[in-house]
Symmetry: C2
Subunit: 330 residues, 2 copies
């Protein structure tokens, strides 16, 4: 059975489903015949945006609410076959400014939701969006799933705790949980409101608005840019596959490029753009993980998924997307 | 300067200071001339007990309050040179039953307290009581501080998150933090109310009450039993030493014995006792870490501390202690 067939009639819940990756998942699931429900708090600084689902709005159910509301989530989770848990405080930079909020949104909400699953729907399949930032400084290359995890940010600490929650609930109660560690996501439907989430979109916005891009250092650090629709496909694949409970998968492009090359690609595709260089600010430098080369062979071996969209192709697609609707995203 | 001299006139705050290890720390610090303040919520299932400090009650300040109260902690921490953070939900078994409370008591309280330190007293030295249970299944022997951490309990997940908080605040803000990972603590002033904390005391209580001790499996699993006053000395040493911020130290006896031998030692010292064997209950077996042999050379190299009290000597001391006051601890 293909992923497409396995979702026919399935009840899918996406927390943070009005955001970047969550809405891309919804767009893929609707044509597969899944019954998609989204819960999203539309918190102002995050990626939730009704523009992300306008083409499928009549095909899905949207709950404007906070996934930390236990009674809302209990009623939704009772009627769910597959849960994609994307809702989060998404900025590692902000996590140092609002540590207790980061804990509450990212850890407490996730733990509470797993408890609800255990008590009310232990057969639900749970797919969790984690981040490469659980790892901290890169010590060995290529980065496999068993790389030591010593996060450099509170965001990373809390995502790591969530990963451990998912493993605990899998091992202890047999819950069907799986973790995808996203590398450097970018693409259509990503938020462009500020620079604290992911930079390709932010830099594209600056360029479209005629403003210069600023690079810290010489931009030589290697990054693994993976396109949003590719990520969404990875989630859809994992949600449809019998993977061992509690497993962790890298979800990236599997080939890194210098940060500078990402910027140059934007300038090349848009045919314009100004780039400035400045020294690393100390607080950014402390969180710098070093070069990364992610090994994404485990998820391919297990689900058959592999990323298809190169950086240049991705930047083109993202530009096509935002060219006609930048105003809805800023 | 010896540890003893370095505490003269120092303002020391001990969270959970009416409990097992916290009160033993207080007993050591008072004769050194430290000005000791204790904050303890006396939560019913934990180890807080006024009997633990009766000999020094007039020499210390006791705040009956919850360390999660930010205004209480802000006023106390402004006036603190060394903070020993011992307050916690202490049962790994209960952490599965009250996951959100475990998160709130162990993680949120710690994170909030570090924020208060950062904002109001960044020079305070913070010593944190962690646990061998952050590690999970033992993969390599002897267990050093860099052993992989994959906790088998939510208690372990949250203690691990706290360790990461301390490293983050050390690295990012220069806070002087240090972590001690306690192996299997036992000894005078430990709580004896239930079997969910540490077993030597519980087994001693059962024997003193003429009740049988039950062992799961054959009792061959190796454990590192470290006596409470030795642990307290380790905390006092670390609190007096210029150790690199964010460091983690194993705090154990450094030599393991079979679980069965601990039971036999109690029976031998008390001159009585009945032992029964039964199969492992499934929920305990899932959390079983396997044999442990802890390497405690790092803390010795750094501070000079090493444990002095053998299992047999410790059981004798504990029996002497509880013989005259069992009623105050049950």
């Amino acid at each position: 059975m293909t992923a497409s067939e396995s979702y026919r009639g399935k009840r899918v819940l996406i927390t943070g489903g009005l955001g970047f990756i969550g809405s891309n998942i919804a767009h893929q699931l609707v044509p597969m015949g899944a019954r998609v429900t989204i819960v999203d708090s539309l918190a102002p600084l995050y990626g939730g945006n009704f523009a992300n689902v306008e083409e499928i709005r009549s095909d899905i159910t949207i709950c404007s609410g906070d996934y930390r509301d236990p009674s809302l989530m209990t009623s939704l989770l009772r009627e769910t076959d597959v849960l994609f848990h994307m809702a989060a405080q998404v900025s590692y930079i902000d996590s140092a400014k609002i540590p207790l909020d980061d804990l509450d949104i990212n850890c407490k909400g996730t733990l509470q939701m797993l408890e609800i699953c255990r008590q009310h729907n232990p057969d639900v399949r749970v797919v969790f969006a984690s981040s490469r930032l659980v790892l901290g400084k890169v010590l060995t290359q290529p980065v496999r799933e068993d790389h030591p995890a010593e996060p450099l940010s509170l965001y990373g600490v809390h995502k790591l705790a969530c990963e451990e929650y998912l493993r605990f609930y899998a091992r202890t109660y047999g819950l069907k949980t799986v973790v995808l560690r996203i590398t450097n996501p970018y693409g259509e439907r990503q938020q462009l409101k500020h620079s604290k989430y992911t930079l390709p979109g932010w830099f594209m916005r600056l360029t479209m608005e005629g403003k210069p891009i600023t690079i810290f250092g010489d931009g030589s650090q290697l990054r693994d840019y993976v396109y949003g629709t590719d990520i969404a496909e990875a989630f859809v694949s994992v949600g449809a596959t019998q993977v061992p409970s509690g497993e962790i998968f890298n979800c990236g492009f599997g080939r890194s490029v210098p940060f500078r090359e990402m910027v140059e690609t934007i300038v090349e595709v848009l045919g314009r753009g100004e780039v400035k260089y400045m020294p690393w600010p100390a607080d950014y430098e402390r969180s710098e993980t070093g070069d990364v080369n992610f090994d994404v062979s485990k998820i391919r071996r297990t689900t058959g998924w592999f990323p298809a969209i190169s950086l240049k192709e991705g930047v083109k697609k993202m530009y096509d997307f935002f060219s006609s609707r930048l105003d809805r995203y800023i």
